[in-house]
């Protein structure tokens, strides 16, 4: 633990997640078994930003819950630095879809509680560190506010701070910017990119927004229609530090086209099989007719 706690140098304090041949099923309300993730394998390499994209309802969140340890796999394994993941832990911290800051705690308390309940530092140390971190996240003036008094963007930054104060080996983000307005979302993407380029904490990020995915990712894992398998892995070789101007580069357009084609193929196949994903298929066709 000591080796980790002071590791803020790029990549040093981060871990590597290996998901191999993982399958997760559940029973629906009718008692029918339903496969959510099937024989899914991928690697989230140390110090890289891995983005999972896939058609809606394909099992992305299930996969994240598996990595976080909230659910167990029926088959296959999830390993963090070679050790099987057995349950939730602060070495893999999740930033949830909607904010999960405790509404009954102030921003500072939210950030301080992780280290506090584990008792690894003294309270004044923790308060000082949490205060400094919030200052750095532009929340210094809001540390004694309750989450409802913060804007959506501030809440997400507060949640990032709550995760990062624990020096997690891996940061898990399940559509963390969902529900933010377009402007805030873009600012948060830029913010997260800068933060990642500074810390290089291994990050696994789920999104259904292709632009967001490519802008953030070092590696794009395109998932198949449900049950989730890996359809393809795309290396995003856009240079870092990332800038929004890169979104208009030819290489970016290529990557986007490649990813969209894969997603379209999955959506179309899902539509053939179950009638699901008709919206995606239709939208894609409309777009390409317009082109």
């Amino acid at each position: 633990m000591d080796a980790r706690t002071n590791a803020r140098s790029p990549g040093a304090g981060s871990g590597e997640i290996v998901v191999s041949h993982a399958s997760v099923g559940m029973f629906d309300r009718g008692g029918k078994s339903l496969q959510l993730v099937e024989d899914c394998s991928f690697l989230a390499e140390r110090g890289l930003f891995t983005v999972l994209v896939g058609p809606s309802g394909c099992g992305k969140t299930t996969l994240m819950n598996l990595i976080a340890g909230y659910i167990g796999a029926d088959a296959g394994t999830v390993r963090l630095d070679g050790v099987d993941v057995k349950g939730p832990g602060w070495d893999r911290l999740m930033v949830f879809q909607e904010t999960a800051l405790f509404p009954w705690m102030t921003t500072l308390e939210n950030v301080a509680y992780g280290p506090m309940v584990r008792g690894i530092k003294t309270m004044p140390e923790i308060r000082a560190e949490a205060g400094a971190l919030l200052e750095r996240f532009g929340l210094g003036e809001f540390k004694n506010r309750y989450p409802r008094e913060l804007s959506g963007g501030m809440q997400r930054r507060g949640e990032l701070a709550r995760a990062l104060i624990n020096d997690p080996l891996v940061l898990l983000m399940d559509e963390p910017f969902r529900g933010l307005d377009a402007m805030t979302r873009q600012l948060m993407q830029e913010y997260l990119t800068r933060l990642f380029e500074e810390t290089r904490t291994t990050t696994i990020f789920v999104t259904s927004e292709i632009d967001e995915a490519i802008f953030l990712a070092d590696r794009l894992v395109v998932l198949s229609r449900a049950p989730a398998r890996v359809a393809a892995v795309i290396e995003v070789d856009l240079p870092r530090p990332r800038r929004f101007e890169q979104l208009s580069s030819p290489r970016y357009a290529e990557l986007k086209e490649q990813a969209l084609n894969l997603l379209y193929a999955e959506a179309a196949a899902a539509f053939e099989e179950t009638g699901a994903g008709a919206d995606i298929k239709e939208a894609f066709e409309r777009r390409h007719v317009a082109d």
């Binding site: 340890g69 949830f96 999960a100 509680y113 309940v117 506010r145 989450p147 008094e149």
Partner: protein, 284 residues
């Protein structure tokens, strides 16, 4: 993401509202109450409309209530008034505190533990709809004294309501908070202390308000049947001895007691749940 320049401070809402808004709320409340008393005055005292003529007059009742030398021996200047008040208030506070302590513990257990809930919930759902009035004979049979029977009945009324609301409160907490707490390394005790209890608090306090009202209700019912003193007992006794003005005094006192006890719970709730920024409704 421009930071809002002026955020509502903690404790905004009615408790910390501008003075003008508080005065307006006060006058609105007074308006409603005045309309009630004015109707009483007009229907009974002034016009003596049909059946309303049977009721005690407002003017006479109020004169009796604040008379140093009341016709029927009970006014706010007599010791007997405070004896009844103390007897009733004491029972309610005692029964309510026991019901809440036991009810919150059982409610949290059954909200949090699936096994416990599976055992408790059907029984609760069965016991809850039985009116307290129906329990009276059984409770009198089992309790050693009339006093303890009244307290037991008052307790029962609050007990089931508190359990149920607490359980619902725990069940209402979003799963993400439990997950976040688990990931951050909270122990079970820390989850109880920092997730379950604060998360269930809004429901618990709604339950406490309902429970308090139920306490006063079943207190009066059981005092009428089995009491030897108390506001409810006195209401019935005054009726029996045709001291209708005394009856009115006791009824008004019950209303005021109910209002004050409810206001205390609301205030406490608003204080404990400053993070919500809205109160549970109601004036005080």
């Amino acid at each position: 993401m421009a930071a809002p320049t002026s955020l509502p401070g903690p404790g905004s809402g009615p408790a910390g509202a501008r003075p003008a808004a508080r005065w307006i709320a006060f006058f609105q409340a007074m308006l409603g109450i005045s309309i009630f008393f004015l109707s009483w005055f007009l229907l009974v005292d002034v016009f003596a409309v049909w059946r309303f003529a049977q009721l005690p007059k407002l003017s006479v009742s109020l004169r009796e209530m604040f008379s140093p030398d009341p016709t029927f021996g009970v006014s706010v200047f007599t010791k007997e008034y405070y004896d009844h008040l103390q007897a009733s208030a004491g029972r309610v506070v005692f029964a309510f505190l026991i019901a809440v302590s036991a009810g919150v513990v059982i409610g949290i257990l059954s909200g949090w533990n699936r096994w416990f809930r599976a055992v408790c919930q059907p029984l609760l759902e069965l016991a809850r709809p039985i009116p307290v009035l129906a329990w009276i004979p059984l409770v009198i049979l089992v309790m050693p004294s009339r006093e303890s029977a009244v307290i037991a009945l008052t307790f029962l009324a609050a007990f089931f309501i508190t359990i149920l609301n607490t359980m619902l409160g725990v069940r209402s907490i979003d799963e993400v908070y439990f997950r976040a707490a688990q990931s951050l390394g909270f122990s079970r005790w820390a989850i109880l202390r920092h997730v379950v209890i604060p998360g269930a608090l809004p429901f618990i306090f709604v339950g406490l308000q309902i429970a308090m009202a139920a306490c006063w209700f079943s207190l009066v019912a059981s005092e009428i049947v089995s009491g030897t003193a108390g506001l409810g007992y006195k209401v019935w006794e005054a009726y029996y001895y045709v001291q209708f003005e005394t009856m009115v005094i006791m009824i008004l006192t019950l209303g005021i007691c109910g209002y004050i006890s409810s206001a205390i719970i609301r205030r406490l709730g608003a204080y404990l749940m400053r993070w919500r920024g809205k109160t549970l409704g109601g004036v005080a």
